[in-house]
């Protein structure tokens, strides 16, 4: 179900540690112990975060028993980032047009004022 997937993604991303883990994974795939290092966290604590990210479809993990590299699954995250980007762009484009419109309007007024 669409809403459930969406909620899971949002919930997974709402946590700063999990976002930092994703940012690390954006640089390339790595192991759980590598991921744990910067956070002063136990392996199990990191694993818990990874499970949440995996359920949300934000990361995928290798199958090899010992070395289970984590990697980023880009598409859900890209969707989230793109709304903010789209919204900003929408307004910026509108404001460019407003700028032009106001300039045209004032030019017209000045021409009219000169004729008087």
């Amino acid at each position: 179900m669409v809403t459930d997937t969406l909620s899971t993604t949002f919930a997974a991303l709402a946590d700063p540690t999990r976002r930092a883990i994703l940012a690390r994974l954006a640089l390339g795939e790595t192991t759980v112990s590598e991921l744990a290092k910067p956070f002063k966290m136990s392996g199990p604590a990191v694993s818990k975060h990874l499970k949440v990210l995996e359920r949300a479809g934000l990361i995928a993990r290798g199958r090899e028993a010992q070395w289970r590299p984590c990697r980023l699954e880009a598409s859900p995250l890209r969707d989230v980032a793109s709304w903010v980007e789209h919204y900003r762009r929408f307004w910026e484009h509108s404001f460019d047009r407003l700028d032009d419109y106001l300039a045209r309007l004032q030019a017209k007024e000045r021409r009219r004022a000169r004729k008087k």
């Binding site: 919930a11 930092a20 903010v84």
Partner: protein, 171 residues
Amino acid sequence: MASTATEAEFVITRVFDAPRELVWKAWTEPERLAQWWGPKGCTIRVAKLEMRPGGIFHYAMQFQPGHDMWGRFVYREIVAPERLVFVNSFSDADGGITRAPFSQLKQMWPLEVLNEVTLSEQKGKTTLTLRGRPINATEEERKMFASMHESMRQGFGGTFDKLVDCLAKAG
């Protein structure tokens, strides 16, 4: 909740080389609003514009002939010539709220966005500030929106910007 309002805000500021009265008119008169609202290349047909609290601006945005994308503002506060508060959403031809009509962003576009526009004038130039945030969103949507803005502002050490870049490149 005061904290929600500050956490979740989305802010754009722009200076226009025009007096405030004129900018206000551009926002509040239908034929003027239709001249600039929306991205370049689209035409706006105003179905309804009621400039009063509770009133609706209902428009069809057209990027290609025969394809209307409906949207609406519902005004909450109108204080000429300095403050305009409205809720923006996609809509159907009858003015009812709908989800974003494009499949790519459908799931990620908030159903309703509350926008506050303030105008101030200095020496004939107008500074416009637009603050936006989703309303009636799920708790997860709100948290996410807040964290996106926090990360845009602080980049949590710049990593998030890089992440978004990587993702954009990953295509």
